[in-house]
Assembly symmetry: C2
Homo-oligomer: 191 residues x 2
């Protein structure tokens, strides 16, 4: 998606350790007009797929998943990173390692909110090693629901997560696919 | 807002310790159509206030803040609960105690994203003791920005946060104001 690629080219800062800072428009401050156009694009790409629910993971995926769900007229569900007191004990859970934060989290969804037979569109901001995505796929399949598709804003396509999950048969639509990035040379994209 | 109150009456579960579980439509699974109508209501209530930015705190405020920002045509910014590697070191910070999670967090925003003179509309899901809200107000005022208004989905009006902050001069528009709640009798509202 050219609009997103251009914005990344203009504003992204690359930090050591392949950290891509998009905090001006994607995962801290959010350009909601850009996100709205990204949501339109995922809706267009998955127009042929029936979808019952949009699933994401807190926090950066929530805004984009919300806009997609609004356009599709279905609920949005976000996996929570730790068990808090305001959801029930009856949860599906998956372990997710975050390379960005250097930590590991258990992510959960309430069992009553993800149902057998539901067709789930998974939306998230980043795909690199694929850890968060594997967690969301696991939650979906534990529930007996089906992954209808996966929409990613920015895929670090030089890391193995996307290739591995596509090989397993999941359809992943990434709006910007980064071929390489470095502190000195910035970001380049696959077309 | 009658629509939100009815939904709370129908679906909320009250757990011991004044915990209100709205995970079916507000803070785990999200009814985006309801949130869209809530966003319309905040926009209507603050129609006379110029707003440059919508500010919230991760995670449950993000979806509603996103829809408000989209309708106002301004960016949305969410305060982060811990310093991660993908935002800069140059942040405003505030300490926020969460009674729900029984923990304390430092919340931060990147200094480059909240600017002197900006008029900020703060949106959040809950107001009880007012801790999260005080944190967001502090971040705004540290930046030399102004709180244009505050929009809350559900105020536990029997707790002192709202009254205290209104007395300090902040305008708070809560779409549902809970007068009392209990495990046995459920929830009742101020009109």
């Amino acid at each position: 998606m050219r609009l997103l690629e251009e914005r990344i080219r203009q504003e992204a800062r690359v930090a050591p350790g392949d950290v891509l800072q998009l905090s001006g428009f994607l995962n801290h401050q959010i350009d909601v007009d850009l996100l709205d156009k990204m949501a339109d694009e995922w809706v267009r790409l998955y127009a042929a797929e029936p979808v019952d629910k949009v699933l994401t993971i807190e926090s950066s995926g929530i805004a984009m998943a919300c806009l997609v769900a609004l356009k599709l007229g279905v609920p949005m569900l976000f996996a929570k990173k730790s068990k808090s007191t305001n959801i029930s004990d009856d949860v599906y859970s998956a372990d997710v390692r975050s390379y960005t934060h250097g930590s590991s989290n258990t992510v959960v969804v309430d069992r009553s909110l993800l149902l057998p037979g539901e067709r789930v569109l998974i939306i998230d901001d980043f795909l690199a090693m694929g850890e968060a995505l594997r967690g969301l796929i696991s939650l979906t399949e534990q529930a007996g629901a089906t992954v209808a598709g996966i929409g990613i804003a920015v895929e670090k396509a030089f890391q193995p997560g996307g290739a591995d999950l596509r090989q397993k048969g999941y359809r992943i639509e990434s709006l910007a696919r980064i071929a390489s990035m470095s502190v000195d040379d910035g970001v380049s994209f696959f077309q």
